[in-house]
Structures are given as structure tokens and as C-alpha cells.
Amino acid sequence: MLRQLRHKFAAAALALLSAFSFAYAEEPAHNHEHKEEKFNIGEMIMHHISDAHEWEFAHGLAIPLPVIIYDNGLKVFSSSKFYHSPDATHEDHEKHIYPNKELGYVLEHEHVYRLGVDGKADKEAHVLDFSITKNVASLLLSAVLLFLIFTAVAKGYNKNKGKAPSGIQSFLEPVILMIRDDVVKPAIGPKYEKYLPYLLTLFFFVWINNLLGLLPGGANLTGNIAVTLVLAVITFLIVHFNANKHYFAHLVKPTGVPLALLPVMVPVEIVGVFMKPFSLMVRLFANITAGHIIILSLLGLIFIAKNLGGGGTGWSISPLVLIFTLFMNLIELLVAFLQAFIFTLLSSMYIGSAIEEHHEADHGH
């Protein structure tokens, strides 16, 4: 029974992955029809990994999202007013510039600017853009998903009190236990429970968003520096709000370091304090973005081949590219888990080393 289910699951996963590869493959294909002989792989990749004010699933199939800007008062309107603006010419579309004279704003490379008198973007005036972009929508979606999933798990514990876990509860329990027993507990020590809600949320947030990012048409949320910045800053704040005096004492006077080395060591220690969250931020961002870039580049090979040798070359190279893409996708599934795990592990270790009660020289680095 279980084995059958596993086979079915594997088949479904495989089908999903190949569908994903095709979906990616199709998107630029459509683009290509519009922009004859002008396939630009760099632009295609940047388009896919950057944020946007609409959620494009395939070419021509896009959901407009609300634009919220603060410019002497809050203004809310649909992004279709930019993308389908009557004032945008064909050249404007080519250059990703969408002016709307009625609103007085222009969307230029996904940035909202005030429209100047010359009909160009006024880049001096600062317009704060709080739009529900593709990434924000994906963020909200993942938050709702996480809420639904984990309240269902929690319900399982109430329902199956004193019984074996069932359903989604038994699926996620090993993961929760792994985070608690193999990551948080050993890294933080006896006072781990206080930090567990944050670290569990962090792990599942990063994991689910990494996975959502792998879906066709998914947003590259965890590969966005703003998201990883917020996560890293929260970890940084938790570490330093809970750090004990040993931690701070260690910064200004590292134990076991000769006095002559202090002028060197103290700046190094202080830089280290900021390097830790910085490395957290960059690691997640770079790993996820790089994965997306690799997959997109592989798929882009098909269109490059087509540009070089015609449609037949494009087709003939496709099977090979497909195999590579499939392989990359499997690796990305691993990376999705691994990066969430590493982010959580390192956050736990930073917290653990800051609250550790000890009188010896050795701090965890």
C-alpha cells in the first residue's frame, strides 16, 4: 500500500517537474514570437528572477496586482493601469516603460516614478512603492499556506491526543522534531524553548518559499535580497537583545588574545558581528537566485540554439536541455531544504553562542 503510494507520488512529482520545465520553456518561446530575432537571455533571466507589479504565469496570462504608493498621501490602483496604459507606445513596451498620464505616474523597469512635464520619469521625486508586487503576493500566499498547514497539524495534536499522529501531522512531525531536537536544542541549550517559535517559523517559511519559487510561474521570494535582509536582521536583533554580558565582553576583550593583538582582534570581532547576519542574507539570496539563473540559462540554451541554427537546432537540443533542467530541478529541491536548514541552524548557533553561560575563552564562531 505504502509502496504503491510512494510510486504514485514519485510519478506525480516527476510529471510536475517536467511540466514545470515545459512551462519555463514555453514562456520565452511566446516572447520570441513577438520579438523576432531579439532573444536576449540576460533580459529573460532578469525578468524571471526580479519582482514585478503583476503576476505573470505565462506570456499573456498575467494577474494584475494592486499598486500602493505613498506620494503625499496613499494612492491605490491596479497595475493594469500601467501595463495596459493607453499612453504606452510599442517602443515603451519594448523598453519596459509604462507611463500613465491620467495617473501622473510611470512604471519604468518595475519602479514607480512621478511623470514629469516632459513625459519622462521624474527620478528626483521620491515615490514610496508599497505595492502588492508578485513577491508580496507570494509572501502573503505562503503566509496563508503556512497558517493553514500548521493549524491543521496543531489540530492533529488535539484530535489524536494519546494516539499515533495521522495525516499531515505525521508528515510534518519528523521535520518539526528534527528542527527541535537536532538543530535548535543542541545549538541553544536548555533555554531553547523561548526561541523555538521563531526558528520553526523561519525554517518552514524559507523552505515553503524556496519550493514555491521552484513552481512554474512562482515568485523568486527567498532569492530576493529584501526578504533575506529582513530575516537576517530579525536573527541579528534576537541575538543581540538576548546576548549576555559574556558575549559583549568577548567583543571588546577577546579572552586568550595577547594584548598586542587587541587593536586587530577587536575590529575583527566587531566586523564579525555584522558579517554573521550579512552572510545569512547573502547565502540564501545567492543560492536561490543562482539556482533559478542556472535553470533559466539551461532553458535559454534552446532559444540561443534556435537563433544560431534555426528551429531544427532548437528542437534537437531540447531533449538534452530537458534532462539537465530536470536534474537541476531535483538539485534545487535539495537546495530548497538545505538552505532553509542552514539558515535555521546558523541562526540557532548565533543565538546559542550569545546566550551561552560559561567562563571559558572559547566562544562559538
Binding site: M46, D51, F130, V136, G156, T201, I225, V230
Partner: protein, 164 residues
């Protein structure tokens, strides 16, 4: 460079959504989940402890039983031993008593026999005397009818008396 510049909007939304998510999940998910896990671990631990305790109890009970059995066996042995001793003693005592009684009965019997015999002898003597006297009387009555015979008799009697 575009990729490395965090957008203010996403920063804002991310901060708000993530913090709210942590707060909500902490109450709605992590707390019940952790409590459930802890409760289950506690249950398993207490079940294991109970099993361990029961096993120890069983072992103790068994050793107690064995001890009890050994005690009972020893008691039985000692009871048997004392019973045997008592039986032996009683038998010995009875034997002695019986011997003494037997002796006494035999003694009594002998005494009685002796008495009987003496009485019998006396009776016989008496009978003999009576018979003798009767005979003597009759003889005398017939004898003494003539004088010589009387004299001869007196002489015989005198001789006889001397013999006694």
C-alpha cells in the same frame, strides 16, 4: 545591481507579514504542537518507567516467593522432624509403660495364682481331712466294735502321729 538593492515595499511587507506570522503561528500552531509532542513524550516515558517498575516488582515478587517457599520448606522440615521426634518419644514411652504394666500384670497374676493355689491347697487339705475323718469315723465305727482292733488302731495312730 538591481538585484542587490532591497525594495522598500517588499522590506515593509516582509517585516509585517513575517512578524505577524511568527506571532500567529506561535499561538495557533507551535504551542499546541509542542505541548502535544511533550505530552506524548511524557506518556511514552511514563509507560516505559511503569514497565521498568513492573518488571522490578515482578522480580522482587519472584524472589519473595522463592524466599517464602524456602522458608515454608524449612518449616515443613522442622515440623516433620519434631513430629518424628515426638512420635519416637511417644513410642518409646509407650513401650516402657507397656513393659512396666506387663510386668505388673504378670506379677499380679503370679500373686493371684499363688493365692489361688494356697487357697486350693488349703481347701484340698480341708477336704482331705474331712474325707479322712469320715473314713476314719466309718473305719473306727466298724473296727471299734472289737477290742483288739481298737488297740491296734490306737497303736497305729500313735505311730502315725509320731511320723508327723
Amino acid at each position: 545591481m538591481e538585484l542587490l538593492t532591497p525594495a522598500i515595499g517588499l522590506l515593509f511587507w516582509m517585516l509585517v507579514v513575517f512578524v505577524i506570522l511568527v506571532v500567529i503561528l506561535r499561538v495557533a500552531a507551535w504551542k499546541p504542537i509542542m505541548n502535544g509532542l511533550k505530552e506524548r513524550e511524557h506518556q511514552i516515558q511514563s509507560a516505559l518507567d511503569l514497565a521498568e517498575k513492573t518488571r522490578a516488582d515482578m522480580a522482587k515478587l519472584q524472589s519473595d516467593n522463592e524466599k517464602l517457599l524456602a522458608e515454608a520448606r524449612a518449616e515443613r522440615d522442622s515440623i516433620l522432624k519434631s513430629a518424628k521426634e515426638a512420635a519416637d518419644r511417644i513410642i518409646a514411652e509407650s513401650k516402657e509403660k507397656a513393659t512396666v504394666e506387663g510386668k505388673r500384670i504378670i506379677e499380679d497374676a503370679r500373686e493371684a495364682i499363688d493365692n489361688e493355689r494356697a487357697a486350693l491347697l488349703a481347701q484340698i487339705k480341708k477336704e482331705i481331712v474331712t474325707v479322712s475323718l469320715d473314713i476314719a469315723e466309718k473305719v473306727l465305727r466298724r473296727e471299734l466294735s472289737d477290742k483288739s482292733t481298737q488297740e491296734k488302731l490306737v497303736a497305729d495312730l500313735a505311730q502315725e502321729a509320731r511320723l508327723n
